[in-house]
């Protein structure tokens, strides 16, 4: 039996309802914890705010993607029709811009969507099949009906005993250590 080289990732409290975890998160925040994460089976309104997470870059990325797509779209069509090989197509003007709108639009949407999704995944650091929290046995229910609040070890205010006690104090049904194998 070799000694456990794994280091501590944090402690995790388990809650039964959105309401509980929400209040717990608020109190943790109040208690001055910085590195808090909440895990819930479905989005719980206000939870992100409660743990101090407000702004996300996804909308900005989407805008950029959209603009990029649209400009590429129209640019390409204009360049093809009017610059690189201008041809008389049924007497229509070289720059038949009304005819170029559909493709421009589609590419706008395409660009925006791709940026939105890829951006979201990237910002969420996904894919990330391995994560310490999965080491917690009960965490499996985080995707069914249980709500978890994790205070991470890197938090300056973190102290295993102290923090565990804190979590119990905010009515966590279970409190478990989160280990991270080396």
């Amino acid at each position: 039996m070799k000694e456990d080289r794994s280091q501590l990732f944090g402690v995790m409290g388990e809650f039964a309802t959105p309401e509980h975890i929400l209040s717990a998160a608020k109190q943790a925040r109040a208690a001055g914890y910085k590195h808090i994460t909440a895990y819930t089976p479905f989005p719980v309104e206000g939870l992100a705010h409660a743990i101090g997470f407000h702004w996300t870059a996804v909308p900005l990325l989407t805008l950029i993607g959209g603009l990029g797509g649209g400009l590429t779209g129209f640019g390409l069509q204009y360049w093809v029709a009017a610059i690189t090989y201008p041809m008389n197509i049924g007497g229509r003007p070289l720059n038949s811009w009304p005819a170029f709108i559909p493709v421009t639009f589609e590419l706008t949407v395409l660009g925006a969507s791709i940026f939105a999704v890829v951006g979201m995944l990237a910002l969420n650091k996904l894919p990330q099949p391995y994560h310490p929290v999965f080491n917690v046995e009960r965490f499996a229910r985080a995707s069914t009906d249980r709500f978890f609040l994790c205070i991470e070890a890197r938090d300056p205010k973190f102290d295993l005993a102290e923090t565990s006690r804190f979590l119990q104090s905010v009515a966590a049904e279970h409190v478990s250590e989160v280990k991270d194998e080396g």
């Binding site: 090989y85 201008p86 008389n88 894919p127 990330q128 099949p129 391995y130 999965f134 080491n135 917690v136 046995e137 009960r138 965490f139 499996a140 194998e181």
Partner: protein, 219 residues
């Protein structure tokens, strides 16, 4: 619950996703590159001929005019491949018993054609006409390269449609005075820009739109 994946899975997952994207991109680029490579265009690929006929010797050293053999180049779409008789004009007297010319003599004797391997293969469907190019001031070497330095002839240009278009869009740089058409060593003079304009006017070149109309080359 137990951890399903090992820590390394994180790197693997991200790397493979990224890799897939990059690979896809590379594959596409590769296709486009190959399409322009000699593998497809046959550019600079020299062929073995039944007779080691050297243009370098005949044109470069002996200074025989292109038209001596390619008789119809000024009048027809086809420059024309010389009949055996043309070879025999000289070789019935010169080198008339060297071994490597036996195929020529045999052809002449037996009335069986010499089979040359085709070097310049135009793209499908294009109706190229030598005579009009010659008459409008495009010299042989503009497309065929310095034949006079080729012991074995190879295709000097890609002969892709976009290559044709380059010149049809802007012929000036390649226009020569009529007396330079068959000059293999012609180099564009310093004032080509000016000269080109003048020649274009002199040859009454058609407008770019006309020269790049589909039916100019395709029927």
């Amino acid at each position: 619950m137990a951890q399903i994946f090992h820590r390394s899975a994180n790197f693997l997952a991200r790397f493979s996703l990224l890799g897939a994207v990059v690979l896809g991109g590379l594959a596409l680029t590769a296709v486009l590159v190959v399409a322009r490579s000699p593998y497809i265009t046959n550019e600079r690929v020299s062929r073995n001929q039944p007779i080691q006929f050297s243009h370098k010797h005949h044109v470069g050293d002996e200074g025989i005019d292109c038209r001596y053999c390619h008789t119809s180049v000024e009048s027809s779409a086809y420059a024309g491949i010389p009949p055996t008789r043309t070879c025999m004009n000289c070789h019935s007297v010169l080198f008339n018993n060297v071994g490597y010319l036996e195929p020529v003599r045999e052809s002449y004797r037996t009335d069986q054609s010499i089979e040359w391997v085709k070097v310049h293969r135009l793209a499908d469907y294009v109706y190229f006409n030598h005579s009009i190019h010659i008459n409008k001031g495009i010299g042989c070497s503009s497309c065929h390269g310095s034949i006079n330095q080729m012991p074995l002839v190879f295709q000097a240009s890609p002969l892709t449609m976009s290559w044709c278009l380059d010149c049809h869009r802007n012929p000036q740089p390649n226009l020569r005075p009529r007396d330079q058409i068959f000059n293999m060593d012609w180099k564009a003079p310093a004032d080509q820009e000016e000269a080109g304009k003048q020649l274009a006017a002199e040859y009454k070149l058609r407008t770019t739109t006309e020269l790049t109309s589909c039916s100019t080359c395709h029927r």
